[in-house]
């Protein structure tokens, strides 16, 4: 007999504020926005406050939807809630125009194909709605 379980389930409703809201609005419109800190670093995804100083960030910078893999880990058995059902890599991707990499899924077929320094591009979800999963994943640039 399987052990009894209960499911703690709730549909949270998160208000976004100006920075996260603008970024997710951009994703819905298939555009990626970064934000420049006081010291000039362009953060993607945009953080509301400078991680170094705590000061508010306000200076928007559009960035490309393609960039370079700075780090990755290959996962053979994805979790049921994760972005891809088949084996994939979690990758830190520095988009062209950004100074910091963003973390998302990378669909590149096999572990051997995943490389630091490889060029990748956003694969957009069929339906974009203003959510981090509007980026379905990254894929190798053609």
């Amino acid at each position: 007999m399987p052990a009894p379980t209960f499911t703690l389930e709730f549909p949270y409703k998160r208000s976004l504020g100006p920075v996260v809201g603008a970024f997710l609005t951009g994703l819905r419109d298939r555009q990626i926005l970064g934000i420049r800190t006081e010291s000039g670093r362009v953060l993607v995804p945009p953080l509301e406050y400078d991680p170094d100083t705590g000061e508010a960030n306000v200076d928007w910078v559009p960035v490309a939807d393609a960039g370079v893999v700075r780090g990755f880990t290959w996962v053979d058995k994805p979790g049921p809630k994760q972005p891809l059902a088949k084996p994939f890599a979690w990758a830190l991707v520095q988009l062209d125009g950004a100074d910091t990499p963003m973390l998302h899924a990378l669909d590149c077929g096999s572990r051997e194909r995943a490389q630091i320094g490889m060029r990748v591009r956003v694969r957009w979800a069929d339906d974009t709605r203003g959510h981090i999963t509007d980026i379905a994943c990254f894929e190798p640039e053609a």
Partner: protein, 176 residues
């Protein structure tokens, strides 16, 4: 241009195991057989229902069968409220109902979150004597997550027993 995005939804659904202790299983088994039991602390002699395996005041262990005592399926309403259920996600209660704290005969403390029925809501009162209305034995189940001392799987609700009310002064020290 469509409206800016100001909100996002996130469904969080996490599964948890429910893994009761042998003591809890024993308590639930006895409940399904129609018996309520408690543990008497060997030091302070207070009787806990349901048994917890230790006395929270003396922090000494208690065990079945050494410290087990039988508890009556009747007692006194020491306090109560009438609830108009808030319709949150997952709530299935729809009607107004009475919830009471009951001091069972033989227990040292009251049990909270006990449903009172078979009586007009305005007649529910402090001091009211009540008795258990058991679910037919074949339909009883172990409800580990029931908030009313896990009694809900075996006891449908409590109803007036017809005995005279207990005077307030007799349970001043047992409110909840």
């Amino acid at each position: 241009m469509p409206e800016p995005v100001t909100e996002m939804k996130q469904m969080v659904a996490l599964e948890y195991a429910v893994r009761p202790s042998p003591l809890t299983l024993d308590y639930l088994g006895k409940l399904r057989a129609g018996r309520i039991v408690g543990h008497r602390c060997p030091e302070c002699e207070l009787v806990y229902v349901p048994p917890r395996g230790f006395c929270q005041i003396c922090v000494v262990p208690t065990q079945t069968p050494e410290h087990e005592v039988a508890i009556a399926d009747r007692g006194t309403v020491t306090s109560f409220t009438v609830v108009d259920p808030i319709q949150y996600h997952g709530q299935t209660e729809r009607e107004v109902y009475a919830l009471a704290s009951i001091l069972l005969d033989g227990a040292s403390g009251t049990l909270g979150q006990q449903r009172i029925a078979d009586v007009p809501l305005e007649q529910v009162r402090m001091g009211l004597r009540v008795e258990a209305v058991w679910i037919p034995e074949a339909e009883r189940k172990s409800d580990l997550r029931d908030q009313g001392a896990m009694l809900g799987g075996s006891i449908r609700h409590w109803r007036p027993s017809g005995e005279p009310d207990t005077p307030l002064s007799a349970f001043q020290e047992h409110i909840v």
